[in-house]
């Protein structure tokens, strides 16, 4: 009979919870949580902006969740919604200058927060973990 403490699903859930909590605590300084922070990062990375549909797909969220996240970031002036020139249904979410500034600071904070737990692993081990998780997450393609 398998012990719960050896179940990879359980361990994933626990580890995720711990790291996310620590990261949320670190990000509190800039008034962000992991979720909105992730949206901001993606909005920064795509020069012309990223569609909400792509945001949802990348983050594994329901499109309806993205609406509120972008609303809040837009309200704070960190991102802007602009209609796509190619498809008027699509709205491109792009970071503002203020958004990019905050992202830099937030990325530092998030990094140190995450390392509170992940720092127990050597860089090589972290690389291994990253590779394994990437394969678990990647599209069935």
């Amino acid at each position: 009979m398998p012990a719960l403490a050896d179940d990879i699903g359980f361990l994933l859930s626990r580890a995720s919870g711990l790291v996310v909590r620590a990261t949320n605590d670190s990000l509190a300084e800039v008034g962000l949580r992991v979720r909105p922070y992730s949206v901001l990062v993606l909005a920064c990375d795509e020069e012309g902006g990223i569609s909400q549909r792509d945001l949802a797909a990348t983050l594994g969220l329901d499109p309806s969740q993205v609406v509120a996240l972008v609303d809040e970031l837009a309200r704070r002036g960190l991102v802007e919604r602009t209609p796509s020139p190619a498809d008027r249904r699509t709205k491109l979410v792009a970071a503002t200058a203020r958004g990019r500034e905050l992202r830099d600071r937030a990325t530092e904070l998030a990094g140190s927060g995450g390392q509170q737990r992940l720092g127990r692993l050597t860089p090589a081990e972290q690389a291994t973990l990253r590779d394994l998780l990437t394969r678990v997450v990647d599209d069935p393609a």
Copy 2:
């Protein structure tokens, strides 16, 4: 600038979400979700029953969350709450015969559900992942 897709915290969160969802789907057949299933497993594993405090600590939950989980499992006759003989504040949660039966079936289902994603890794890789996650999760001790 680190890409979100390479952030271990993000990958953990995504992987956890995917595996938990798949497991929930598998467990639906027996009317359980991951959370109550975990409580049931722990109640089965400890012969004399496990205190709600220990349940909370092991699962990383707030004690107040455990109350509702145990309430529901007890309502379905899968576990029983008995006052600890040693400490009348403590209530020991133990699985009933029906609870143990269901646990066996549920463990099969949960296992196959989790492997939908984790099956992409070889058994050796899964062992590596388990070890790494265990170290991330373990007490600071």
